[in-house]
């Protein structure tokens, strides 16, 4: 069934979803005022699916990821009216004890910086074994055994010896493998990978992405891949959420997004990607920066940087409109086909 385009997208009843985030809002109180870092984000992920979340620094990606594990600490606060349904329970209404049993066991996270996300004073084997001991109360020996197996699984040679090494003895790529091992040792249903390859050099990036894909296939887990790099998304994800200004501004399958990006911000991101067949002297950029979350502009949050902004964009705040099928965009152009045709004509000129 195809929805008519141009109408406000209704939230799909995602009963088969593994995780269903509804109207997530996260705010931080700062001296400059309330920073609404995540401002009404809704999405769902099916079991086994890989969803990419893309956007610039400061658009709310990482805070969204941390919220799913309820790792937001004061002065940050998740709006109590938000809902994060996971395996039939609302994560925001679990007790501290219950959420601890979800963290690392059902939902795990891999962080951006392999240099700092490992504790320098423990061996890497210890750090993986600790996760097993926390969740299973396994014996020291059994937990260690699991850690060694996991290190082998993430592709370290001589895992038994590597397990006895400290983080500073490993290279960046190896540390990221260890972090992935820590996250996956309990076989979680959902992995949140926050910029897992950003700190690594390109060849290692490709290896880590390949490893993630392989483990996802074998373990049958869902992945939320947070990145600012559309190239990483293209290699890995089946569906893409584009975030801007604390909101989702476009949502589509990967192929659809790359073929028919609708939101001017997404188009800007795609235009900024370097290509192999590039003849450009300089890469395209999107002018300006993300506005501070303490002062989102009224109306469309992208309008100050948008080449197509018109008076309506400063008066009204756009909803997510259906573009076609499951493709939605937070842009009034989806409602005004005449104007959209003019914009497209101008672009192809």
């Amino acid at each position: 069934m195809t929805s008519p385009s141009g109408i406000a997208a209704s939230e799909p009843a995602a009963s088969d979803a593994l995780i269903d985030v509804q109207n997530l809002r996260v705010a931080f109180s700062t001296p400059a005022g309330l920073a609404r870092a995540v401002d009404g984000v809704s999405f769902s992920i099916a079991p086994g699916e890989t969803v990419g979340m893309v956007g610039e620094s400061g658009c709310g990606k990482t805070v969204t990821g941390l919220s799913l594990l309820r790792l937001i600490e004061p002065p940050g606060l998740i709006d109590p009216a938000s809902r994060i349904l996971f395996e039939g329970r609302d994560l925001l209404r679990l007790s501290e004890r219950e959420i601890r049993r979800v963290r690392g066991r059902r939902i795990a996270m891999v962080f951006q910086e392999p240099m700092t996300a490992l504790n320098p004073v423990f061996t890497v084997g210890d750090q993986i074994a600790e996760v097993v001991r926390v969740h299973e109360g396994a014996s020291r020996r059994a937990a260690w055994q699991r850690a060694v197996e996991m290190l082998e699984r993430v592709g370290l040679s001589s895992p038994a010896e590597r397990a006895k090494q400290y983080p500073h003895q490993l290279s960046g790529g190896m540390r990221q493998r260890v972090l992935i091992g820590m996250a996956l040792v309990m076989r979680p249903a959902l992995l949140i990978a926050d910029e897992p390859t950003t700190a690594l050099d390109v060849t290692v990036q490709a290896q880590i992405l390949e490893l993630l894909r392989e483990l996802q296939r074998d373990f049958g887990m869902a992945v939320l891949l947070i990145t600012h790099d559309l190239g990483v998304i293209a290699e890995t994800a089946t569906r893409v959420l584009v975030m801007y200004g604390g909101e989702i501004v476009e949502q589509a399958s990967m192929d659809e997004l790359f073929a028919n990006a609708h939101h001017p911000y997404t188009q800007g991101l795609l235009a900024a990607m370097p290509r192999v067949d590039d003849t450009r002297e300089r890469l395209t950029t999107i002018p300006g920066t993300v506005p501070p979350p303490t002062a989102w502009p009224s109306g469309c949050r992208f309008r100050d940087r948008c080449p197509h902004a018109w008076d309506r964009t400063s008066r009204e705040h756009p909803d997510l409109f259906v573009v076609s099928g499951s493709h939605t965009s937070r842009c009034f152009l989806a409602q005004e086909p005449e104007r959209r045709r003019a914009v497209v004509a101008e672009q192809t000129e």
Binding site: E130, Q169, L170, S171, G173, M174, M182
Partner: protein
Amino acid sequence: MHRATPLSYDVAGAPLDAPAPETWRRTPVAALWRDGGTRAALLLLIALALVAILAPWLAPHDPAAQPDIITLKNQAPSVAHPFGTDPYSRDVLSRMIYGTRVSLSIAILAMLLSTFVGTAYGLTAALGGRFTDAVLMRGVDTLLAIPRILLLLGVVAMWGSLSVPALIVVIGLSGWFAAARLVRTQVLALRERDFVTAARGLGARTSSIAVRHILPHVASPILVAATFGIGAALVIEAGLAYLGFGVPEPQASWGSILREGHDVLVSAWWLSAAPGAALVISVLAVNVIADRLRDIASGRHLPRA
């Protein structure tokens, strides 16, 4: 043409057969020992500790015995009494030997107590949330505003003279405020580190994060502060004893011997000289070691690469 095997960046890491980087020469203990002044200070403290432990075998006389309070009092140093005798005809050397035992054990145990309390307090404040933190730290600020000796006198005045365990508790419980502040500051910075968030994200509870992930990183500043704390406790104990709130007679500590000497300072200087010198030298030794530990903790002992 020679073709290199495809280079995988990912196998780069320390070779598995590389020697452990913590060879003896690079350990903190070796660094402590290597420095001549620190080595002298260490040897001195070890000697003092041996004196304290072996007191019953080393002391030539019973420290409490008063053989003849009329004819043998305030005697100058001699072969029989190398440090002379006090106004009660007791042998000062024997009293110094037993006093070392009392002074050192009070200082060390009081330091352990204040380090423990201060660390626990600082951890709780830093990890307990903003409200807990505000309440706990305002409390410490208030206590830090009162001079330590005044605080102690206020407490001690209620008793007059205190037993050794009571002195340990009183001195220990008045010395942890700065340690609490130090630990809190360090932990506040540490808890924002990625590996702490990562541990939380993998399901670790706050108590295990505090003990396993945070405490090891605060160990070196705590060690430095605790070492300085021994020196401070030595001086505080002597001060209290000098003011008359020391160990009960006939027990001796350096401070109480000093007090007995002060009435006869002109006629029997040796009574004050021995405990005074012991205090100065041992506090100096402790501070030299603490200073060196601080350098080591900040990595300044390592050879420049």
